[in-house]
Each structure stands twice: as structure tokens, then as C-alpha cells.
Amino acid sequence: MRDDRLWLVALLAPAAIVFIAFFLLPLGRLFLIGGSGPMGWGAYAAAFTEARYLKSLVSTVLLSAGVTVVTLAISGLAGVFLQRNRFTGRALLTALLTLPLAFPGVVIGFMVIMLAGRQGLIPDITDALVGERLVFAYSMAGLFMGYVYFSIPRTILTVMASAEKLDPRIEEAARSLGAGRWRVVRDVIVPGLKPAFLSAGAICFATAMGAFGTAFTLATRINVLPMVIYTEFTLQANLAMAAALSFVLGAITWAALALARTAAGSSVAAAG
């Protein structure tokens, strides 16, 4: 269908024009502005050399990595369980676990306040148990909880889709060869789910790196990179530094996704 070529170009053109005009060109501009401040191109280096930026960069990476590990563990267990067992209420349970899939960050922050804020449920429980109110919503711990909350629904979906394709006969074979339950999990199930873990983990890490709404809701004093960028831009009016920092943040996020894609083959593409 060679003669369709013109049509195809015409169909792709609108998306391409919008994308170039409103994404690629602005991003290029932002990159140049990052190097146009008082520090010049040194602003990009400052993200790694200046103590306060480096500190927030490191804590953002550590937070995101921690969230990824915990989310994968929780979603791996629950996802494989839901895929492998049939019981009354299973469909409802799956639906509830994936319901918060597209809750925005600000709402997630409010959910954390509901659980661990000043008037939250967890302080009420600890008050009844040990006589002390454990309030941790407005700190890194609250942010951690929020990001895990945010990432569970999507990760469970990915794990369930992947667990569906695992061949139970391999597990049977392993078991009949004398492998215990943990050996089967370690040597059969986890390797089988590796592409799903890589792709879901990369998405989880990337969203935790760039997320902003949850931290904004919980406390502006939480020292993560997106908050620093926001402060540099709005309060300090330091546009060049804000630009440089968001570029560094974007580059790390993009690299994490690219790395996972290389490691997992093409399967990451399906996780969106």
C-alpha cells in the first residue's frame, strides 16, 4: 500500500507538530536557561557538588529506591496470591486493590493524613495501645507511605498480568524434585516475574522521583528534589537553578526507565 505514504505522513504530522512545539523546543530552551544563571553551566554540576542539592538528590533517590523495593514485595505477594487462587470475593478484592490507580498525588497525601496525621487513625490506635499518639504523616515516613500507596495498584496489575503467564507445571516439577516452598518462590516464581518486576519497579521508581503533589500536601519542608525545584522557582526566583535541577531529575528518571527497558527487553514498553 505504497500510495498511502502521504496519508500516513498527514496523520502523524499533527501529533508531531504539537509535540515538537510544546515539548521538545521548550525542553531545549529549559536546558539552555539552566546554564544561563550566575553559575553558568556550573549550575548542572552544582546539583551534585553543592551540599543542600546533593543531600536532597540523595534522599530522593534513596526514598524512591526504598518505595520501589517495598512496593514490589507487597504487590508481588498479593498479586501472585490473587492470580493463583480462586475464592469468593476475589474479584471484589482485586477491584478494590486497583481502585486508587489514578488518584492524584495531592489526594494520596490526604489519605496519608487520614491514616497518620494529627487526627488520623494510626495515632488513635497507638494512643489506645501504648498511650502515645504516633503522628508521622508530615515527614519522610509519611511521604514513603504515600508513595507506596500510590504504587501498589499499578504494580499489582502488572504482577497479576505476568503471573497469569507463568506455567504452573514448572513449579509442579520443581516441587516434585523436592524443592521446598521458598526454593520454588526464589528459583521459579521470582525469576519468572523478573520482567514484570523490572518494568513495574522502574515505573514505581520514576514516579516516586518526580512526584510532587503528595509532598506538597504533607509538608513543604520535606527535603526531596521536586520540592527543592519548586522552592527555587517560586520563592527564590532562581529560574536557572530550578531548570538545571529539573533537568538532572528528568535525566535520572529517564535513565532508570531506559536501564530497566534494556534489562527486561521489550516488556517494559507494555507497562506505560
Binding site: 515539548f23 480462586r86 491514616l115 503533589g213 500536601t217 506505560g272
Partner: protein, 273 residues
């Protein structure tokens, strides 16, 4: 059935308990928030009485944000359909290094933090006053962020069907490009368009990362208004506002689950092993 349940190993019950705990972690705060939105005084608890006063207050003060968010989401849907569906078709028709690179690029706004995209838009177009001040400025950001979801969703359907044979058949019967596109391609990717549309509307309604920087005091959206009440007003007001958000978003999320379920799963599954 209970006899069958009793025979399940202890590991089953442990895992079930764990999964239920995770589910409670996700759902309990939603319930608490809904409850707080209709409670007269949260310091006393639900015992202080049920009231609609907070909902009325939020609706009076913030209904503009609800309308604006819906307006942006609808415009965003229209644009992602117009831009995304044709683009997905081209990417499905020509699978080579170039289209793979295009696909890769199109997904970038999801990987790049929203703050960075918003800053980039502001430094480039912030000087165009009328554009900067209008809701269309927010719309641009939302389209960039949601377009990949529409493209992916439609592309997934198009690559799973034998498009080539269908189109060749239509062509041999004399159908021209336009007839084929509207008569063969679009009807065949209905499912992908539906799933993509639900995703686009849901994401646009909840978008905050970019919108916080792109909005002006006169173009406040629902999530920006939410952040505002969380920060400055009492818990009941924030909860009531969240309740309004839930009323809009939860039907969309449920519809999304329904649309995403492959037809096979919609058949009744046997409930016990």
C-alpha cells in the same frame, strides 16, 4: 463450599490475611475521608452528627474548579483523540526504526517529571500573556502528559489484530484510504479508544504536578483547589472537597477496570477450586 475452603493450607489463609491488610491500607483512608466530609466535628467524631454543611461550603467556594477541570479534561480528550488515534495508526502500520523512535519520544512526557515540563512551557511561552493566563495553557500540559496513554492504548489493540489483511481486503474491494480508515481501522480499535479515553480523562482530572505551575489564580483546577484546602482549611472541608472529587473520579476508575478486563474475564469464573 465451606468444606472445600477448610481444606486450604495455612499458607493460603496467611496470604489472604496479608492481601486483606493491603486492601485495608488502600481503602480505609478513602472511607475515613468520606466519613470526615459529612461529620459535623472531627475532633468529637462521627458522634457529633452527620451534616452536609461542609459539602455545601465547598460547592459554594470551589465549584468553579470542578467545572474548569471537567472542561479541561473534555478538551484534552478531544485533542488526544484527534492527535493520538491517527498517530497510533501510523505507528502500527509502519513498524521500523523511525516509528519506534517516535513512539519512544512520545512517551517522554510521562518519564520527565511534570515540574520540568511545566517549567519548560513557562520559560518558552510564559511571555505570551493571553495564552499564559488562559486555561488553554494548562490544557497544553495535560495533552502532552496524556497523549502517550491514548497512543499506547490504541496501538496495543492495532498491533494485536491483523490490520494488514483487513485493509488489503477492503482495498481489493475498492475502498480508498479514507473509507478504510473510518470503516475498518476506527471500528476495530474501539476497545483501545475507550480504554485510552477513560485513562486520559481520569489523568487530566487529577493532574497536579504540572498544573500547579501552569495555573493562575483565575484558572484554578480541582486538584489545585484540593491542595489549597488541605493546606489552609479544617479537615472536614478538605474531606468534603475530596468527597466531591471521589464522586467524579471513582465511576471513571470503575469503568476503566471494566474496560481493561479482557472479554474472557467477564465470563463468570468458577469461584472455588
Amino acid at each position: 463450599m465451606s468444606a472445600a475452603m477448610d481444606r486450604r493450607p495455612a499458607a493460603f489463609w496467611l496470604q489472604l490475611a496479608f492481601t486483606l491488610f493491603v486492601c485495608a491500607f488502600l481503602i480505609v483512608p478513602v472511607g475515613l475521608s468520606i466519613m470526615a466530609g459529612v461529620t459535623r466535628d472531627m475532633f468529637i467524631g462521627i458522634g457529633s452528627g452527620v451534616t452536609l454543611q461542609w459539602l455545601v461550603k465547598v460547592w459554594t467556594d470551589y465549584r468553579q474548579t470542578v467545572f474548569l477541570s471537567i472542561q479541561i479534561a473534555m478538551a484534552c480528550l478531544a485533542l488526544t483523540l484527534l492527535l493520538g488515534v491517527p498517530a497510533a495508526y501510523v505507528l502500527a502500520r509502519r513498524q521500523n526504526a523511525f516509528t519506534r523512535a517516535v513512539e519512544e519520544l512520545l512517551v517522554m512526557p510521562v518519564a520527565v517529571p511534570g515540574l520540568a515540563t511545566a517549567l519548560a512551557l513557562i520559560v518558552t511561552y510564559g511571555g505570551w500573556g493571553d495564552f499564559r493566563r488562559s486555561w488553554v495553557f494548562i490544557l497544553v500540559g495535560h495533552v502532552l502528559f496524556t497523549l502517550p496513554f491514548m497512543v499506547r492504548s490504541v496501538l496495543a489493540v492495532l498491533t494485536s489484530i491483523d490490520l494488514r489483511t483487513l485493509e488489503e481486503g477492503a482495498r481489493s474491494l475498492g475502498a480508498n484510504f479514507v473509507q478504510r480508515f473510518f470503516g475498518i481501522v476506527l471500528p476495530n480499535c474501539r476497545g483501545g479508544i475507550l480504554a485510552g479515553s477513560l485513562m486520559v480523562v481520569t489523568l487530566s482530572l487529577g493532574e497536579f504536578n504540572m498544573t500547579l505551575l501552569l495555573h493562575t489564580p483565575l484558572t484554578q483546577t480541582l486538584p489545585v483547589g484540593l491542595a489549597d484546602t488541605y493546606a489552609s482549611l479544617r479537615l472536614e472541608v478538605g474531606s468534603a472537597y475530596t468527597l466531591i472529587f471521589f464522586i467524579i473520579i471513582i465511576p471513571l476508575l470503575v469503568a476503566m477496570q471494566w474496560a481493561a478486563a479482557p472479554p474472557r474475564r467477564r465470563k463468570p469464573v468458577e469461584e472455588t477450586l
